[in-house]
């Protein structure tokens, strides 16, 4: 019998509290390489908290989150995990291309131009590459953020509410890019309210008030019940 694939992203008894408020109850989760996982739940259910802890932006109150065995937020984990936030955060005074160059150089990439050009073209940003994203619409800023998340190397891609502000072609392109990343061996974790997307992934984890209420295939549960 084949041994199970090793977990690339693993949470062990991880919790997060803000004073008396518990944002995340003890959570155990292991995501394998190449797996596409959707985190589904209503507002305040703990999706973003978990995503941010995996990215190293939030520190767990207890428990650990590991990326390929390295603590989330460590130098090694940061090299392996790419995070696309729900709200794009970009420099006001750098063009799209300068953002890409900066990100790639921080990740030690020398030959980034071709990959960047492909992504810009796919997401319809090629003509705006020299523009400042501070003058973009919400959707274009989101696309810039997506390019920055995908242009660098990664083994884990965590994405928070990716479809907010995206037009249908942009959304379709991004879904395809995430699938491509999973086919290339990356584990893709997406926090979303979009149940049509959640229905297409390999695994669905439902969160309610910081606790896991479902963990399994999306076709084995009434998905609306997870956000109701």
């Amino acid at each position: 019998m084949a041994s199970p694939a090793p977990s690339v992203l693993a949470a062990m008894g991880v919790t997060k509290s803000y004073g008396d408020l518990v944002a995340l109850e003890p959570l155990d989760l292991a995501v394998e390489a190449g797996q596409r996982l959707a985190l589904v739940g209503h507002n305040g259910s703990g999706k973003t908290t978990f995503i941010k802890m995996a990215a190293g932006l939030l520190e767990p109150t207890s428990g650990t989150v590991a990326v390929a065995g390295e603590p989330a937020g460590s130098l090694e984990a940061r090299a392996l995990l790419s995070y696309v936030p729900d709200e794009p955060v970009l420099y006001d005074d750098l063009s799209v291309l300068e953002h890409i160059e900066f990100t790639c150089r921080l990740h030690g990439l020398d030959d980034w131009e071709d990959r960047a050009a492909d992504l810009l073209s796919l997401l319809g940003l090629a003509a705006r590459a020299d523009d400042l994203p501070s003058r973009f619409s919400r959707g274009l800023r989101q696309k810039t953020s997506i390019v920055l998340g995908l242009v660098r190397p990664f083994s884990v891609l965590v994405v928070d509410e990716p479809f907010v502000g995206l037009d249908p072609p942009g959304r379709e392109t991004f879904v395809n890019l995430m699938e491509e990343a999973a086919r290339d061996g990356a584990c893709v974790v997406v926090a979303t309210h979009q149940l049509d997307y959640a229905a297409t992934v390999d695994r669905c984890v439902g969160l309610r008030d910081g606790a896991v209420v479902y963990d399994g295939r999306p076709d084995e549960i009434e998905l609306p019940s997870l956000v109701g």
Binding site: G56, E76, P85, R105, G108
Partner: protein, 585 residues
């Protein structure tokens, strides 16, 4: 993964590219105008201060006393700065990164210490420049009263000031990098303050903070040992830079978000937003449990009170009897009692509830501001006239905190409109609770001033009279600032003014609240100059100040009506499209 050298190079290139873009967008004329305005106002203020302070040189005995006690007292100021730094570090400060730096640099596989070194150095340089400038000004002013060569005073002041600010920043970086947390940082801050206080009490310089005080007073007495204070500051900076790598990304992101908003609010001169954001930055929220519980209010401010229900409280029953004798508003809804009495009771209750939820840190800050105002007033009494401005400013800042219940009502205008009372009446009705709190703050000032003066019944009587006037006037200035809000970007009345006058109008609008607060301390100067009985002079001079407080209250109560009348006279619609509120006159 990228190696450290290439990452450093990428960061350096990023900063270069951004600087290039900033330079390209640089508006030379605007910068020149800003420098001109800063030089004009700064120079005028310095000139005035120097003239005022230089009025009277102190005697040899006082100089001797300053040489002995001064280092410890100056050290106490350094200790306060260090304590602020330690507390800031406990909350993840002092670095204020851009949100994009947190997301793109701190989440990249780059060593955190290397990534944060640049912003840390920038902050240290900026802090040292400000500290040196401030210290030099203090030194020059001291030279006018204490004698000696002003360049020597300026140099020692600059060194002490720069060391003080950078010591505080270094301590903050160390505490933040080592993740000592708020409690440990608080204990350390108390330790620093306690050590400095002990130095003041025993009149000996045993702490590095007092050594920095000795640096400030080098022109009076050269003490080579004071270099220990400078070395201590340098050590804190080095330790802070070493510890930088441990800085929390979570705290950095929270601070980045708040600091961005804070800068915008400062640009818009929106003082209230600045205060609220600063509180968030300091994680200074209202207590869930109040320090004390007060009796239940009548609840007459809620919409429910319109229902003619006989209340159970004494105030309501009394009001009901009065209403039975002929209510004030026969045409309106039937209220269960005297609306004014009930409303005042409810507003007092609401104000007290808010004040009793102040966190300990805010109470400590208020006590400190009160003490600082008292110390400054005593300094003015002793002859350093410009210290009245410092006392007024301290009371104004304290007033901004104490006026919180009123400020909350201004913030939530929609709630305010839901009450069956005029907006101005609600705001004015919130004054008594804040006034009582402000008198308590002022009491700390009285204790400090009387203690510094060496006690005595007469000093206490004079201080007590001035205390009431100064405290209430300090609050009045803060209330003006809170009620008037940030200046509009452009108002209709600006159309009638020449551009130069608009600038002066903006300056006046910004300055007059703290000026009103300062008026409350002016009786100190009047009593000092008076040849009659000091207590009688204090009473005579406190009366006009109290009249000013009443005028401010009347303005708060009728502000909207006055604006509406003014607009009507000019043939315009009501300001901001708001309908003048005529209820509950």
């Amino acid at each position: 993964m990228a190696n450290a050298r290439s990452c450093q190079q990428a960061l350096a290139d990023l900063r270069r590219a951004r600087r290039r873009r900033r330079v390209a967008d640089f508006d030379f004329m605007e910068a020149l105008y800003r420098a001109y305005v800063a030089a004009l106002f700064g120079g005028a203020a310095l000139w005035w201060l120097a003239l005022r302070v230089g009025g009277k040189e102190v005697g040899a005995a006082t100089v001797g006393r300053v040489a002995v006690d001064g280092p410890q007292i100056a050290g106490a100021v350094v200790a306060v700065a260090l304590a602020i730094g330690l507390r800031s570090g406990g909350r993840g400060g002092p670095l204020a990164l851009e949100a994009a730096d947190v997301r793109h640099v701190l989440l990249a596989p780059v060593g955190r210490r290397a990534a944060l070194r640049g912003p840390a150095w920038r902050q240290l340089r900026f802090g040292a420049a400000w500290g040196a400038g401030l210290g030099a000004v203090v030194g020059v002013l001291a030279s006018r009263r204490l004698g000696g060569q002003w360049p020597a005073w300026a140099a020692s002041g600059a060194l002490a000031g720069a060391s003080c600010v950078d010591a505080a920043l270094g301590a903050a970086m160390a505490v933040s990098g080592w993740r000592l947390g708020r409690r440990v940082a608080g204990v350390l801050a108390l330790g620093v303050l306690g050590w400095s206080a002990a130095d003041v009490l025993v009149a000996r310089s045993t702490s590095p903070m007092s050594w920095l005080g000795q640096v400030l007073l080098w022109p009076l007495r050269w003490r080579p040992g004071a270099f220990g204070g400078v070395a201590f500051a340098a050590l804190l900076v080095v330790v802070g830079l070493i510890a930088l790598g441990g800085t929390s990304v979570e705290a950095s992101e929270r601070r980045a978000s708040l600091v961005g908003q804070l800068r915008f609010a400062v640009t818009m001169r929106d003082l209230r937003t600045v205060i609220l954001l600063r509180r968030q930055l300091a994680q200074e929220g209202a207590r869930r449990r109040p320090w004390a519980r007060i009796g239940a209010g009548t609840g007459s401010l809620s919409g429910r009170s319109r229902t003619p229900v006989v209340g159970t409280s004494r105030a309501t029953r009394t009001g009901a009897r009065r209403a039975g004798r002929g209510g004030e508003h026969p045409a309106g809804p039937t209220y269960p009692g005297s609306r004014r009495g009930i409303a005042l009771s409810a507003l007092w209750h609401r104000g007290s509830q808010g004040l009793l939820r102040f966190p300990a840190a805010r109470l400590a800050r208020l006590a400190l501001l009160g003490a600082a105002a008292g110390a400054a007033a005593e300094g003015a009494w002793q002859g350093t006239t410009p210290l009245v401005a410092a006392a007024g400013l301290a009371l104004y800042v304290a007033g901004l905190d104490v006026a919180e219940p009123l400020a909350q009502s201004v913030d939530h205008a929609a709630l305010l409109d839901g009450y069956p009372l005029a907006r101005g009446a609600v705001l004015a009705g919130l004054f008594p609770a804040s006034a009582v709190a402000m008198l308590v703050v002022g009491a700390a000032g009285v204790a400090t001033a009387v203690g510094m003066a060496g006690g005595g019944t007469r000093a206490l009587a004079v201080a007590a009279v001035i205390w009431v006037a100064a405290s209430l006037c300090g609050l009045a200035g803060a209330i003006i600032s809170t009620v008037q809000g940030p200046p509009p970007l452009f108002s209709d009345s600006d159309l009638m003014l020449p551009p130069e006058a608009i600038g002066a109008k903006v300056v006046l609008r910004t300055l007059w609240p703290p000026l009103v607060s300062t008026v409350g301390v002016l009786p100190v100067l009047a009593v000092r100059a008076s040849s009659t009985d000091p207590v009688a002079a204090a009473v005579a001079n406190a009366v006009p100040v109290l009249v000013l407080v009443v005028i401010v209250l009347v303005w708060v109560r009728n502000r909207e009506r006055l604006h509406a009348a003014f607009d009507l006279a000019l043939g315009r619609t009501a300001a901001g499209g708001r309908v003048p509120d005529g209820r509950g006159a």
